[in-house]
């Protein structure tokens, strides 16, 4: 079931179109990657989900019905542009933000104690925010976002400012919360973490959604029949035998085993490639290369701007 979906959402600011008929569906209990170049309209969409702005047209669904005002208490939002009151004490501030999300003082206190102990930052409680480093502030903000156990969590570039150890810690927390039933919308420019975390993605460019689906399917969809092959034998033999059937993109004979990248042309498949190879050399490994999200992103966005210009 979809926890959340947006249906043909359009938003215009005076003479600038931020979103045009964008539809996305976020299945419950998954991590959903919201991708797109800068200025594509992601932040506008996220603000619409958070009811910070209202769409000009289109419908927002939450748990199978139209979204209500109260639903914002079941959403946790970590914006890309985020901060805390610098002169306020950490604990007091976290308590305030928790209560704004509808928690009672007691519940907020209990949850906060739990998180602060888990992250071993209980000593920060009475410090002023301005005494903390940026990464430390980020940790507090992360806690404030998930404190009220929202059904839907929205993280916009959550890892910037963290060291690799803390990035890993945050990733583990996100995956743990997903396992416990939370649904997560994740917006980032870091495609590696998209591959790692996201079950589904949607790509928005120039106010329009240009691609969506399960992450694996999309990568499959954009593969271009390239294989990475390790072999023992003479490269010249392969070159001679392959002729017009395959194109050799790269080859390397400096390593322990020789390797090459081959893309097959029309009328051949992995079966015929393997058969042709076995006749000439001894195969060590044979891998189909699936494009990274990074490659997919660049390809799709470049195509989109070419087709429009």
């Amino acid at each position: 079931m979809d926890l959340f979906s947006a249906q043909e959402v359009t938003k215009t600011y005076s003479n600038f179109k931020a979103l045009s008929e964008v539809s996305i569906s976020v299945p419950e209990g998954t991590v959903f990657g919201l991708l797109g170049p800068n200025g594509a309209g992601k932040t506008t969409l996220i603000r619409i989900i958070n009811q910070i702005t209202a769409p000009d047209s289109g419908t927002i669904w939450f748990e199978g019905r139209k979204m209500k005002e109260d639903d914002i208490y079941r959403i946790g939002y970590l914006p890309e542009e985020r901060g805390l009151y610098k002169k306020m004490k950490v604990g007091e501030q976290a308590l305030y933000l928790g209560m704004l999300k509808g928690l009672s003082r007691r519940d907020a206190m209990r949850e906060l104690k739990m998180w602060f102990e888990k992250f071993e930052i209980i000593t920060w409680w009475d410090k002023k925010v301005m005494e903390l480093s940026k990464g430390m502030q980020q940790k507090v903000q992360f806690i404030c976002t998930v404190l009220h156990k929202p059904k839907l969590m929205i993280f916009d570039e959550p890892f910037t400012g963290f060291d690799p150890i803390n990035v890993e810690l945050m990733k583990q927390e996100i995956l743990r919360m997903k396992k416990e039933g939370a649904t997560i919308i994740f917006s980032t420019h870091n495609m590696e973490s998209v591959e790692e975390l996201c079950d589904h993605i949607a790509l928005i460019d120039k106010s329009k959604k240009i691609l969506d689906g399960p992450t694996m399917n999309i990568r499959e969809q954009y593969k271009s029949n390239i294989f990475d092959i390790g072999y023992k034998g003479d490269f010249a033999k392969i070159e001679q035998a392959f002729g017009k059937k395959y194109s050799i993109l790269a080859h390397d004979e400096t390593g322990r085993t020789n390797s090459l990248k081959i893309q097959f042309l029309n009328g051949s498949n992995s079966g015929t490639l393997l058969k042709d190879l076995v006749e000439h050399v001894e195969i060590v490994f044979f891998n189909e290369l699936i494009p990274s999200m990074n490659e997919v992103f660049i390809k799709v966005v470049t195509q989109n701007s070419n087709s429009q210009s």
């Binding site: 958070n50 910070i52 208490y73 914006p79 985020r82 901060g83």
Partner: protein, 445 residues
């Protein structure tokens, strides 16, 4: 609505607990008192420098008549010594040389020669002394010539002083002793307090909005509360900070006032330890019977002022004026990225309030005039100007009209500010123009 409560609570408690707030609140009355007492004290303090002034009296009228007081001594010198001193004043022991010509009764002029600047007080002192001696001299002459025996006593009896007691007839016809001076003082104080609080706390609202915008916490918060709730919570929270401060000042003022009242014999007996402690201070200032009389009089007239009405109106205009201006300040704070950008918008907002304080100065002199009337109707100036008029008594219809206009305007202004605020807090890196602000009014939420 409970969300407004949370915002309000945060705005209030973080400010009231600030050290600067506590210090300011307690120190301000002390500073005010010091500002009034210290110059007075310095003025009444005697000039303690010892000076000896050589007096050469060519007319012989003043010989021996200039009495030395504690610090200034007069020494009469004969002509030959005068000639010496005149040439060597700098090296002599005399501070100054007073020269009285033989024909002083006609010229009415004496000369005071010194190598240093003569203090104003000293000059006055000498002037008064010589004047009274000469007056006496002339009078003696007149009395002698007229031959009327008790003329001196008769002339003295003509000296009289007049005080005008102003009486204001109330609407029900009862006569009340009122005082123009007290009306002016109260009008000035209340008008000025409103002016000060609007600027001070309006600016505080603007700073608060800018802080939220600059620290970028605002997006997190408005994903939980509506921008309008955040703005109102802030405005009302800060208003409560202002009222708290004012309440503390009033309590402190009443304590001081009532202990001062306790000092006046017959008005009330000093009973508390505090009163007795304050007594020594006040007695030093009011140590003559006339002064005591006057103080009692002032206290009596203060009692005749309609304080419930004034305080009620004060609270109303305080809140109304504050709401009007602070919502404007909030809108400005939301629209700008930095302190520098704020300047171009704050100036036009400050203008009417500065105009109000200027009009108030003339309104307390002529509270019924057309200037006072119109500016006490215009909502942007009415909180200050109307407050200045109220101690003199304002017709009920004018008061009500002014209040209604103020309410309508501030409700409208809060609505406009809410629209600008909603868009402004999420706008970064754009230099905002007036035109841009106008456009934001038309945006849908």
């Amino acid at each position: 609505m409970s969300k407004i409560g949370l915002v309000l609570n945060r705005e209030y408690t973080t400010r009231v607990r600030k050290k600067s707030f506590i210090i300011m609140t307690l120190l301000m009355p002390a500073l005010m008192a010091a500002m009034m007492i210290v110059p007075g004290y310095l003025m009444t303090r005697d000039d303690t420098k010892e000076r000896t002034i050589a007096v050469y009296d060519g007319s012989s009228i003043l010989l021996g008549q200039l009495e030395s007081n504690d610090y200034t001594k007069y020494k009469f010198i004969p002509e030959e010594k005068y000639n010496r001193v005149k040439d060597h004043l700098k090296t002599s022991d005399f501070y100054a040389l007073l020269v009285i010509q033989p024909n002083v009764l006609n010229t009415k002029t004496v000369q005071l020669i010194s190598t240093s600047n003569i203090p104003f007080d000293l000059k006055n002192q000498i002037q008064n002394k010589i004047r009274s001696v000469i007056e006496k001299e002339k009078m003696a002459e007149v009395i002698k010539q007229s031959g009327i025996p008790d003329l001196e006593a008769q002339i003295k009896a003509t000296k009289s002083s007049i005080s005008v007691n102003t009486i204001k007839l109330g609407e029900s016809g009862e006569a009340k002793k009122s005082s123009t001076e007290i009306g002016m003082a109260l009008g000035y104080i209340f008008g000025f307090v409103i002016y000060m609080f609007i600027i001070l706390y309006g600016m505080m609202v603007m700073q608060g909005v800018m802080e939220e915008k600059q620290s970028r916490i605002v997006e997190v918060i408005i994903s939980s509360v509506k921008p309008f709730e955040l703005m109102m919570g802030k405005i009302v929270g800060i208003a409560l900070v202002g009222l708290t401060q004012l309440a503390i000042w009033i309590v402190l003022g009443v304590v001081i006032f009532s202990s001062a009242k306790g000092l006046i014999p017959g008005a009330q007996h000093a009973t508390t330890a505090q009163d007795i402690m304050a007594q020594s201070g006040a007695m030093a200032q009011a140590n003559t019977p006339e002064q005591l009389d006057k103080m009692q009089d002032i206290l009596g007239m203060l009692g005749s002022v309609n304080f419930p009405l004034i305080i009620g109106c004060f609270i109303f205009f305080f809140i109304g004026g504050y709401m009007l201006y602070s919502s404007l300040f909030a809108a400005v704070g939301s629209a700008v990225d930095s302190q520098e950008d704020a300047q171009q918008f704050t100036l036009p907002i400050m203008m009417p309030i500065i105009l109000a304080i200027m009009v108030m100065m003339s309104a307390i002199k002529n509270p019924e005039g057309p200037v006072a009337f119109w500016f006490s109707m215009i909502p942007f100036t009415s909180p200050v100007v109307m407050m200045a008029r109220i101690p003199f008594g304002v017709p009920a219809w004018q008061l009500i009209l002014s209040m209604v206009l103020l309410i309508l305007t501030f409700v409208g202004m809060v609505w406009v500010a809410g629209k600008i605020y909603r868009t402004g807090i999420l706008m970064y890196g754009k230099k905002t123009s007036w035109k841009e602000l106008g456009k934001w009014l038309t945006y849908r939420s």
